[in-house]
């Protein structure tokens, strides 16, 4: 089985490649045209003229809600949304029900994914049992079951001693630690950015310091243990400043940014619409500028969605009682491309692709994110100039909690190929 993707602009940041050309796939693997094994096979041609041929996009932060909350999302529907967004690999967070804090649950997720997932589904395991921040989860056994990182996402280990020992222990397995940065004391029952709008709306504030405090803590512990920590969904400009200083000193700290945190501000909460409520919260235009600066100068080197489905009836309640989180996979590439490449010209397209492919692959040691010869043929065709409007009523997800319904973007994935097979095309 041979596939030839012809005439596209091939961008493969891992190899510094950016040229018009043809990409060859044989039996689910990227091949060199001169080394085809069975040259007599039928050739399936895909015309990519005018399109970008990129490594399949990777999102290292999604919630597919299985086991336990399949009314919000399943591994099937979530992976369909991923495919529509151009993502060939996703990394699931462990805050399921029961939590993915043990090897049996990890194996169950892998089996379920093998049956129904459209894209590659990787698992993270909990740092602590029950994601409670108290006792270490069986990290070594989960590593044997195939996890790619540990995290208590949705929760944050508050006890610094527990965090330190988790880091030291995980180093033995080369497992990076992903941290949701939230100081529980400072944040309290905060539900939106603490600032003028929280004062006006009478809503409890979630101050920037609640995030920055833990970013600073993580920098110190990463240095102490000489172990990597990846800070999830940065929302505060102050976090970028801390990260920049630490990375310049060689600390093994990295961070990701989500689309909503560079596309929307806290003012969006003025209608008390829970589709604008997520954790950490939307902040200010000044934070957006600092986050984008951090993306431009390399302080932030990974982008992710924090795709977090919730059923409509769960979201359509009083704002303080609604769960945090929004859908993200289908609009993710579009928002990053529109804001970072078109509107702000903060980074170019090859850099954007690196942040969504090889960089997360390197952090998690995935054999993905590149178009190198011999790599799995996960490929995304992108049309960075294409204008389109998002209609959340058409999402495969059973949830509808997107703040971007009706929004128009420039940039879209048009075909998603996993191991040589097209799993979605426009």
């Amino acid at each position: 089985m041979i596939t030839k993707i012809t005439g596209g602009r091939i961008i493969d940041p891992a190899n510094g490649r950016d040229e018009i050309g043809d990409l060859w796939i044989e039996d689910g693997v990227i091949v060199d045209s001169s080394q085809i094994q069975n040259p007599k096979s039928e050739i399936d041609e895909i015309d990519a003229q005018g399109l970008v041929v990129a490594p399949g996009l990777i999102d290292l932060h999604v919630h597919f809600r299985e086991p336990g909350q399949s009314h919000k999302e399943t591994i099937g529907t979530g992976s369909e949304a991923a495919a529509r967004g151009g993502f060939t690999s996703v990394v699931c967070m462990p805050n399921t029900n029961p939590p993915a804090d043990n090897p049996a649950t990890i194996r169950w997720i892998h089996e379920r994914a093998a049956q129904i997932a459209k894209v590659n589904v990787f698992c993270t395991g909990g740092i602590t049992k029950g994601l409670k921040g108290e006792e270490l989860a069986p990290i070594g056994s989960m590593k044997n079951a195939g996890i790619v990182a540990i995290t208590d996402d949705g929760h944050c280990v508050q006890n610094n001693e527990v965090m330190r020992r988790a880091l030291e222990y995980a180093r033995m397995f080369d497992l990076p630690l992903l941290d949701h940065c939230q100081d529980y004391g400072l944040v309290g029952n905060g539900i939106m950015h603490e600032g003028e709008w929280s004062v006006r709306l009478g809503l409890p504030g979630w101050p920037r310091t609640g995030e920055e405090m833990i970013v600073a803590r993580n920098i110190l512990l990463s240095e102490l243990c000489d172990a990597p920590i990846h800070c999830q969904h940065m929302s505060s400009g102050g976090s970028v400043r801390l990260l920049r200083e630490a990375r310049a000193r060689g600390v093994k700290i990295s961070a990701e940014v989500c689309p909503h945190h560079i596309a929307l501000t806290d003012e969006a909460l003025k209608g008390y619409d829970a589709n604008f409520k997520m954790n950490p919260p939307l902040r200010t235009a000044a934070d957006i500028n600092l986050l984008i600066e951090g993306i431009a100068d390399g302080t932030i080197d990974i982008l992710a969605s924090d795709h977090a489905p919730h059923a409509a009836y769960e979201k359509e309640v009083e704002l303080d009682q609604a769960p945090f989180g929004i859908l993200g996979l289908e609009t993710e590439f579009a928002i990053f491309c529109d804001v970072l490449v078109h509107q702000r010209a903060a980074i170019d397209l090859p850099r954007l692709i690196a942040l969504l492919t090889i960089n997360p692959a390197r952090l998690l040691r995935l054999d993905r994110g590149t178009l190198s010869t011999g790599a799995p043929a996960d490929v995304t065709l992108l049309d960075p100039a294409r204008e389109w409007t998002y209609d959340v009523t058409q999402t495969p997800s059973p949830s509808r909690n997107s703040p971007f319904h009706g929004a128009t973007f420039r940039g879209r994935a048009v075909r998603t190929i996993v191991a040589g097979k097209t799993v979605w095309s426009l």
Partner: protein, 313 residues
């Protein structure tokens, strides 16, 4: 802000922040007309005859609920009261479903008191019935703001240029927010007073001054509005004790002696005698606390009439 001739076009009253000066003035003028009705021996008018008002109180209140109930009765509406403990919210029904059930019973007006900011707006966007906000979390309490401003305007004949001090737990106070919005829109000069933890500088974004010394305002203010101060579990890190609060911010006799003779002392109630206000001062010549309660009735009649009674007087 606009001073265009007022026309009332809203079915709901959610927040004074959303109104312009002309709309607020129309509400106050309408309340003035209704105040006369309360002074007659026959206190009833037929404006809302045949309409049904549901007092839907998801948070306890006696004063506000009774005031709305009397206001509705004086307008000849039928009134049903639903308290949180009796409501099905405790059985897991959502606010939306409960309200849609009330509407299915053909309620015309829903007066909502709720502990969540935004709850009244949430209902107003989803129901055809008029929704009147009787206090939503720390957001707004528009009829309280209106009755406070009504009381000031009745005494001074104007709002523009008045110096108004609001003292207390501003950060968590819906009464303070509604007062501030109405007063600022009508041109008053507002100062918020209280400890740095409860009166943060960020409040200046609302167009007011902030001070942490009550002495700064005593001799110059035309109105001093004291909010009920509470020292519940969630406030322990905001100030150490009621005693220290009284020492720093309470309207004691000594402080009251420095007020201008014409200064009004206001309080939305219920008052903590001896905490935010000295007991004698609460009953003394500066105090208009009971007048506020009486005016609340007229203001709520005006709100119900304009939102549900088919247009301006």
């Amino acid at each position: 802000m606009t001073n265009a001739p007022a026309a009332w076009t809203r079915k709901d009253l959610i927040a004074l922040d959303a109104l312009n000066a002309a709309e607020i003035t129309l509400l106050l003028d309408t309340a003035k007309a209704f105040k006369g009705v309360g002074e007659r021996s026959l206190k009833k008018v037929p404006a809302l005859r045949g309409k049904t008002l549901v007092n839907f109180f998801v948070e306890p209140s006696t004063r506000t609920r009774t005031s709305f109930e009397l206001a509705a009765m004086r307008l000849s509406a039928d009134v049903v009261n639903i308290a949180a403990t009796a409501s099905s919210l405790q059985k897991g029904e959502t606010l939306k479903d409960t309200a849609r059930n009330l509407e299915a019973l053909l309620a015309d007006i829903i007066v909502l008191r709720h502990s969540s900011a935004g709850a009244a707006q949430f209902l107003a966007e989803r129901l055809g019935a008029s929704v009147i906000n009787a206090g939503d979390g720390s957001h707004e309490h528009p009829t309280q703001g209106l009755l406070d401003v009504f009381t000031m305007r009745e005494r001074f004949g104007r709002i523009a240029g008045l110096k108004v001090a609001i003292v207390g737990d501003i950060l968590f106070s819906r009464v303070a927010r509604s007062n501030v919005h109405a007063l600022v829109k009508l041109g008053a000069d507002v100062t918020l007073v209280g400890p740095t933890t409860l009166v943060p500088r960020s409040l200046e974004a609302l167009g007011v001054r902030v001070t942490h010394r009550i002495d700064d305002v005593l001799e110059t203010t035309d109105v001093i509005n004291l909010l009920r101060i509470q020292h519940e579990r969630q406030r322990k890190e905001y100030f150490p004790s009621l005693g220290e609060y009284t020492a720093l911010f309470g309207l004691t006799k000594a402080r009251a002696a420095r007020l201008q003779p014409t200064c009004l002392v206001m309080h939305p109630g219920p008052i903590n005698r001896g905490v935010e206000i000295d007991s004698d001062i609460a009953d003394g010549p500066h105090s208009v606390i009971l007048e506020q309660v009486t005016n609340g009735l007229a203001v709520r009649m005006a709100v119900l009439y304009l939102c549900a009674g088919g247009g301006a007087a």
